[in-house]
Symmetry: C2
Subunit: 292 residues, 2 copies
DNA sequence: TAAATAGTGTCTTTTAGACAGTATTAT
DNA sequence: ATAATACTGTCTAAAAGACACTATTTA
């Protein structure tokens, strides 16, 4: 080769390289953390303590620590800070990159590129405020992002009458009740993208099990699909289908103790199998009509 | 609400905000631009003119212009610069975000977060070197990323004997022939991720048509699938399947002029239809075995 | 007992795929 | 004529979905 790929040349170059010679762009991670509570899909949100958007709900997130962590590590760190979970509990949480958002003025302070992550978590305790957030809690998604649409201005971005305990975090105020509506920044759009990703992902992966505990019944698994997709599924056909897909679930040999049941036989318990993709997939019903 | 979401408070805050108060992270976009040439999948690459990795092939890309463009705009700009295409020609190119890569030391200069994009392009003329690249050209992907695996060191990352004209750009040297192998930075991994995305995407979207011209035959469309998937498909069943999926293709009423054919009837010509998702999808063959 | 639920049987429709066959064109 | 290619017909197997049915448990 004409010019050697010399490490000496690279060392010389790096010695005189100035990382601040370029216009700055900040890099953050934001996490769309989803969980199921009482049969409804909830998303982890924090109440912003400082400007901009002080007092508004936002997705948990923060700046990536330059030179010290990868994007995946930053997302896991932010999620751990807001949920108060330790490493063992986080192991049961599915975390994947969702996409990056970098319009020049999405943050009024400066150009901020946010790398969004999507998390599926089993039922978790109330969230812990961490970092510079005034409060943190699990919010029902349909109150913020109706039908998974991008954030549209709503007078009351979520309802207070139902399940008040679900907001958690002990914030005395209710952010978003000032009429401005929706999440801070472009987090409404990020949430909508995360919801659509979640709906698609459980079609061809077994990640619906990530919303459940170590063992679960087929009915509980079906309720995950019904909640995420927002559609009722045929119990009998779903049951047979799940058991027919190789590696989706495996039997524990146990049966449910059925607290709160209204009758019926004890359901068998299953745990997640070893498949990483479902074949054949569980397709959402009624995709023909509106999808073109 | 206790504290007003006052725009005055926000203005005060922004007036004293220093964008350089944080450790810098650079943000770049890199593009995995794929096209078909002579029945083989090619990726656009540039020969690096400067450090680091001088003389090595890399994906086209560059720094995002802080405060002046979105990520999508930056990717389109970089693609236009390297291909020399005007806005009209770029309109026929599919461009979507692939994912972001941000390990702290993936670039030896500083912490660089790269937002990768994936492009599908019809057959294009030889690339134009742009920016600080010494050369640019279309490289056969199997020479760089065998079987879509992450970049593994190979003595000769692409072969010189076949289709020498495909490299374009007029570079006298052949980057990568120094025994170091593979693409610069982590671009081998990004390319592998882009190839897997492309293979998956043509299953459930009509984007295979983005590799073809305005009108095409069913056989040409089948050759796109066979090349991207690396598997032979049954011509008769493929033909019927494509025509049965609503909105995938629509007839132009014309028939092919068949230059270079070895006999057979004139094939009918089609153009891309209005569907954005294929239902039912065209699934890759033989997914059961190795996918778990 | 009645009601609710877990799980299975069975039938129909849709889709994928194997394979064969016919028509059209180049050499 | 022969070979190659563009399509089409037909049959089988897999899968999705509608519906009915039995068994088990709670109230």
């Amino acid at each position: 080769m004409a010019e050697p790929d010399g490490t000496q040349a690279e060392r010389d170059f790096l010695a005189q390289y100035d990382p601040r010679a370029f216009d700055p762009i900040a890099v953050t991670v934001d996490v769309v953390a989803l969980t199921l509570r009482a049969g409804r899909l909830h998303v982890l949100a924090v109440e912003r303590g400082g400007q901009p958007f002080a007092g508004r709900w936002a997705l948990p997130g923060g700046f990536v620590r330059a030179g010290r962590e990868s994007l995946d590590e930053a997302a896991a760190r932010e999620l751990a800070e807001e949920t108060g979970l330790d490493a063992a509990a986080l192991d049961r949480v599915h975390l994947e990159q969702l996409g990056s958002y970098g319009s020049p003025h999405r943050d009024p302070r400066m150009h901020v590129v946010s790398v969004a992550y999507l998390a599926f978590a089993p039922g978790l305790p109330d969230a812990q405020p961490g970092g510079d957030a005034a409060g943190a809690g699990w919010l029902p998604v349909e109150a913020i992002s109706p039908a998974g649409q991008p954030d549209e201005a709503r007078p009351r971005p979520f309802e207070q009458g139902r399940r008040t305990g679900a907001y958690g975090g002990g914030a005395g105020r209710r952010p978003g009740h000032d009429g401005s509506g929706g999440l801070a920044f472009d987090h409404g759009r990020i949430l909508a993208d995360g919801l659509e990703r979640a709906r698609a992902k459980i079609e061809y992966t077994p990640l619906a099990t990530a919303f459940l505990g170590e063992s679960f019944t087929i009915t509980e698994l079906r309720e995950v699909y019904e909640t995420v997709w927002g559609a009722a599924l045929h119990a009998g056909n779903f049951h047979r289908k799940v058991l027919s897909v190789p590696g989706f679930v495996e039997s524990t040999g146990e049966t449910d103790t059925r607290p709160g049941s209204r009758g019926g036989p004890r359901a068998r318990l299953y745990r997640a199998g070893d498949a990483r993709l479902l074949h054949p997939a569980l397709l959402r019903p009624d995709r023909e009509a509106g999808v073109r």
